[in-house]
Every structure is written in structure tokens, then in C-alpha cells.
């Protein structure tokens, strides 16, 4: 069970997937926020700083790569862990974004929880 202080922001334009992921992570003890695209995610992050952003890649308004770029450029957010997920071939995405972790959709719950934990536990850019 994850400590209740850890917050995961799930960003996905597919409503069914967004809700299912949120439920699963809550059951594991995480505090969960949701957004259906990158801009909405930034709005959420202005209110609550999550420990991890689990983001889809192809989304309307502001997509995954653009969201990550904005997070990395923001000194207040750049320490936040980011995990990408996509239905497209994530090997290709890994090559384009070295250093990023990705989950290949569809994934099973165990793989999701394992990767979420790994991303949260990984050393990251220090705040400030």
C-alpha cells in the first residue's frame, strides 16, 4: 500500500481509461487527480503538486510531449516524476525521448503498479 501522501496525476483523453486508472491507483492507496488533456493537467498542478504525472501521449489541446516540456521548464514542477503511456509503439517513443519511462498500452495492473512505484522511487531533479 502506497503512503497516502503520494499523489499521482493521471492525464488521458479517453474517459473510460482515465476513470479506470484513477480507481486502480486509489485502491492502491495513492491520492489521485485526473485531467483529460495537458492543459487541464497544468491547471491541476497549479493547485496541487503531484509526485507523479502519468500521462497519455496523444491527447487534444496539449499532448503528452508538450505537457512534459512545460513541466520540465517550470522550476516549481521539474522535480515531478513523469511516466508516459501510449497505444503507439513505445520503443519508438523511448528512442525519441531518452530517459523517459513509458508504459505500452494496453498494460496489466501489476505492470502499471510496478512502473508507478519505480518512477516514484527513482532519483529525480531536485527542487529549487
Amino acid at each position: 500500500m502506497a503512503p497516502a501522501t503520494e499523489t499521482v496525476l493521471v492525464v488521458d483523453d479517453e474517459q473510460g481509461i482515465l476513470e479506470a486508472l484513477a480507481d486502480l491507483l486509489r485502491e492502491e492507496g495513492y491520492r489521485v487527480l485526473t485531467a483529460s488533456h495537458g492543459r487541464e493537467a497544468l491547471e491541476r498542478m497549479a493547485e496541487v503538486k503531484p509526485d507523479l504525472v502519468l500521462t497519455d501521449w496523444m491527447m487534444p489541446v496539449l499532448d503528452g510531449p508538450a505537457l512534459i516540456e512545460r513541466i520540465r521548464q517550470d522550476p516549481a514542477l521539474r522535480h515531478v516524476a513523469v511516466l508516459g503511456m501510449s497505444a503507439v509503439d513505445t520503443n519508438g517513443l523511448r528512442r525519441q525521448h531518452p530517459g523517459m519511462d513509458f508504459l505500452q498500452k494496453p498494460f496489466d495492473i501489476r505492470a502499471l503498479m510496478k512502473q508507478v512505484r519505480k518512477s516514484l522511487d527513482a532519483p529525480r531533479v531536485q527542487e529549487g
Partner: protein, 490 residues
């Protein structure tokens, strides 16, 4: 025309990447057009739309695929991965999948429209697919709001030059009055009769050019959607060339002697008779003679598999195996179940054109006819098929099984279907004479050639076919199927 004058716009065509569909549409979709693809769930709309996207992406066009409460993108891509047209390298740069459902739920049609416009602009996309128009229709407050949404989408498509495919499952009537304002409507449907089902595509509306009317069969395989335009709508309307004095022979000296000039080249011969009377061997002989003269051949069969046919031919001295191995002869075997008339014709004509086939033998015409679901179509279909074969200079042999083994009556199961368009008619039958079953052959009609109309015994021996001299017993007794020589009344 002065330099300031402008030419009226000539719309480019957008290739769909769906084999057989562009000819039906008169060359493809019109650029900047808005099209509705309507059909029940599972009709193939999503595959067709994706096929278009991958085709266009390979040409460099970016495509935006927007879903509204459809299957998840990962599931859709998992289903597409096995399709030949799928190309992971196009994702996500050239084909981009997003969901517009949340926007539709929260902001209605105006919000969805804004999302579509913005995403098309952001991605520089030339193709838009909106999968789940029925959700938008249901979210619309009124049919007027829905029409307004489509109209505004059309204006955007015209202004920023994108082509849109709106996919919708049918609710109530398949084609709603609200759809009539779009540039085209393609309907996909699955039809069932008894235990069989088949898929049909119909262009219900197409602005800007003529399209091929009526329903066209399509299938979904690993190749994606493949449409087979109804043969009657695609064959050339031109008069076939005059093949002049070119003649064709069977390669059986005793039979060829009955037609001293030979059959007219590019003519159609129908050989009718009960099972086991020698029709297939006669057809194989027609092919073997062509091969001997260097003419590529094609055999289309329904019941007997290729190996069995080759074995059967080899037993009577017709060695066709080497021609099959070196490609001079092709055997197209169609299972007589779940096949389709247009698919059979398409495959047949494709090979004829590709290999320059000069002799064609279709064994088991009734099985081919049974692949059709519309008896009324048989006549025009065979008229179109034989016309095309004539145009291509193919001399064709069809066998047609009759159900009566003996007797004075002759049943022609096709009505005027093929017997009306075949220039040459041969009839074979069994006869019981002096305790022995014999085969008889007679020529009913021949185009542009004199022939011997006498009844002949038709022998099949290990050395091949042989036709005996004219048969002597009384003709009226022969017609009963049980003949006696004159004076023999025992």
C-alpha cells in the same frame, strides 16, 4: 482570360487505399469533402477509415482520428496491427488518435467542433476521421443543431482544406435526412439469407461526379477492406474486337472433325450434362490443346480440388502438372461455400489480364451461380462476364451439371442466364445400351461454324478422348436414355 481572373477550383481526388472503392467513387473522395460512412457496429467502418488514414499517411498527409465513445485507441490499434496496411512508423507523427468524448460531454457540439478545428490546425492534418458521429447526433439538442454542426464542419473543411470521414452506426433509418447535406454517404451493411451472410457497400450519395450505382460486395481480411465492384457496372461498354478468322480446336482429332473450321476464337462454350459424363475431361482437353500451342490457360473449379483434377486429367493422358509448375496454367479453386460471384469474377479476370490467358475453363458453373444471392442477377452478370472475356480474346468453356442422368427431358438450371449468352452449346448424356453405360455428345449450336449435328459416343480412355462415328439406334429411343438397335426388341 485576364491575369486577375481565376480558374474555378478543380477538386483533387483522395485515394482511399481500399481496393475497389476508388473506381466505385469515380476516382476517390473529393478533397475537402465531408463524407458519412454509416453502418451497424462491426460493419467495417473503423477499418475502412483507418485504411484511408494509413494510405494517406504514406503519401505524406497527416491524419487526425477522433473517437467519441468508440473502442479504446489501444484496442483499436491492437486490432489493426494484423492488417497489411498498418504501419506503426506513421504513429504518432502522421496519424494521431484523440478522444473527443469528454469535450462533447462537457461542452456539447460547439465544444467538439472547436476541438476538431483546433486539433486539425495544430496537427496540420489533411484528413479528419470522426468515429462515433451517432454520439454527436445524440448530444445535439435538435436535428437543426446537428445539421448546423455538420454545416460548420463542412465550412471548415472547405476553408482549411481537409477531407472528413464521419463514421456513424445507424440509429433508426440508415440514412437520416440530416445526412443529406454532406458531400457523400457510404453505407456498409451485412446481409443474411438462411445461414449465410455477406457484406455490401453502397454509395448512397456522391457529389461532384458519377459513382457506380447499386450494392457492391466487400470483404474484410488481413488486407483490410476490399471492395469488389459489381461486374455489370465496371465492364467495358465497347464492342469487343473482331477476332476475325482465328479458330480454336479441342485437340481431339475425332471431335475437331465434327467442327471442320473449329470454334470461333474468344467465343463462349457451354457444356451441359449429368455428373460423370466427361465434361471436366473435355474442358481439360481444351486447356491442354491451348498449352500445346503456347496459350496461357486458367481453370476455375469449385468442387474438385486442384490435385484431384490434375490426377484425373493425367489418367487420360493430359499431363497438365508441368504447365501448372511453370506458371503457364493456373488452377483457381474456390470452395463452393461462403464465396461470392463478384469475388470469383474479380479473381478470375485479374489472372486473365495479368497472364494474358487465352483459354479459360470454368468447371462447375452451378456452384458459381449458387454463390449469388440474387437469382435475377445471373443473366446480366454472365452477359457482362462473357462480354469482358470476349473483349480480352479469351475462349471460354463452362461446364454445367444437369440433374437428370437419363431421359428425354433436358433441364437448363440457368434459364437464359448463360445458355442465352453462350455462342456454342454442347450436350452430353448417359445412355444405357446393351447392358453398358455409354456417354453421348451432341452439338446443339455453334456460332459462325458448320458442325456435324449427329449424336456421337464419347469415349474416355487412358490415351484420351475419342468420339465415335455417328450413333445408329433410333433417335426417339435414344431420348429415353435406354436405347435398342433396330430389330432388337428383346
Amino acid at each position: 482570360m485576364s491575369p486577375t481572373e481565376q480558374h474555378p477550383p478543380v477538386f483533387e481526388r483522395i485515394a482511399t487505399g481500399v481496393p475497389g472503392l476508388d473506381p466505385i467513387l469515380g476516382g476517390g473522395l473529393m478533397a475537402s469533402g465531408v463524407y458519412i460512412v454509416v453502418g451497424e457496429p462491426g460493419a467495417g467502418k473503423t477499418i475502412l477509415a483507418n485504411q484511408l488514414c494509413y494510405q494517406q499517411a504514406r503519401q505524406g498527409t497527416r491524419c487526425l482520428y477522433v473517437t467519441l465513445l468508440a473502442e479504446s485507441h489501444s484496442r483499436m490499434l491492437a486490432n489493426l496491427r494484423s492488417m497489411a496496411f498498418f504501419d506503426a512508423a506513421q504513429l504518432p507523427q502522421r496519424i494521431y488518435y484523440v478522444s473527443g468524448f469528454r469535450m462533447l460531454e462537457e461542452q456539447g457540439l460547439p465544444g467538439l467542433l472547436e476541438l476538431l478545428r483546433r486539433e486539425m490546425r495544430n496537427h496540420g492534418a489533411g484528413i479528419l476521421v470522426l468515429d462515433g458521429l451517432v454520439q454527436a447526433q445524440e448530444a445535439a439538442g435538435s436535428s437543426r443543431d446537428f445539421k448546423k454542426f455538420i454545416h460548420e464542419l463542412q465550412v471548415s473543411a472547405g476553408l482549411t482544406r481537409f477531407t472528413a470521414l464521419l463514421l456513424t452506426s445507424s440509429v433508426g433509418p440508415t440514412v437520416h435526412p440530416e445526412y443529406t447535406m454532406v458531400d457523400g454517404i457510404l453505407e456498409l451493411r451485412e446481409r443474411t439469407a438462411a445461414m449465410r451472410s455477406w457484406r455490401e457497400l453502397q454509395v448512397r450519395k456522391f457529389r461532384g461526379s458519377a459513382s457506380l450505382s447499386g450494392s457492391h460486395h466487400f470483404r474484410i481480411s488481413e488486407e483490410g477492406v476490399e471492395v469488389f465492384p459489381r461486374l455489370e457496372t465496371v465492364v467495358s461498354r465497347e464492342q469487343p474486337p473482331d477476332w476475325g478468322t482465328q479458330r480454336v480446336r479441342f485437340g481431339v482429332p475425332t471431335l475437331d472433325a465434327m467442327i471442320p473450321e473449329g470454334l470461333a476464337a474468344a467465343s463462349t462454350t457451354l457444356v451441359m450434362g449429368p455428373p460423370g459424363c466427361g465434361k471436366t475431361i473435355l474442358g481439360a482437353s481444351h486447356l491442354a490443346e491451348g498449352l500445346r500451342l503456347g496459350e496461357p490457360g486458367l481453370m476455375v473449379s469449385f468442387y474438385e480440388g486442384p490435385d484431384r483434377l490434375l490426377h484425373k486429367a493425367a489418367n487420360v493422358g493430359l499431363a497438365l502438372g508441368s504447365a501448372v509448375r511453370d506458371g503457364r496454367l493456373k488452377l483457381q479453386w474456390n470452395m463452393p461455400v461462403e464465396s461470392n460471384l463478384d469475388l470469383v469474377a474479380h479473381t478470375l479476370l485479374e489472372d486473365v489480364r495479368k497472364r494474358g490467358v487465352k483459354r479459360l475453363f470454368v468447371d462447375g458453373l452451378s456452384a458459381m451461380v449458387e454463390t449469388s444471392h440474387e437469382p435475377a442477377r445471373i443473366s446480366p452478370f454472365f452477359a457482362a462476364l462473357t462480354q469482358e472475356l470476349r473483349r480480352l480474346g479469351v475462349t471460354t468453356f463452362f461446364t454445367l451439371e444437369t440433374s437428370r442422368l437419363f431421359g428425354p427431358e433436358m433441364d437448363v438450371p440457368l434459364g437464359t442466364g448463360l445458355s442465352g449468352v453462350a455462342e456454342n452449346l454442347l450436350f452430353m448424356r448417359h445412355l444405357e445400351l446393351n447392358g453398358r453405360l455409354r456417354r453421348l455428345l451432341s452439338i446443339f449450336k455453334l456460332r459462325d461454324a458448320d458442325y456435324d449435328p449427329t449424336l456421337r459416343e464419347f469415349l474416355i480412355t487412358p490415351q484420351g478422348i475419342e468420339v465415335q462415328p455417328p450413333f445408329q439406334p433410333s433417335p426417339e429411343l435414344l431420348l429415353t436414355g435406354i436405347a435398342r438397335f433396330p430389330g432388337n426388341h428383346s
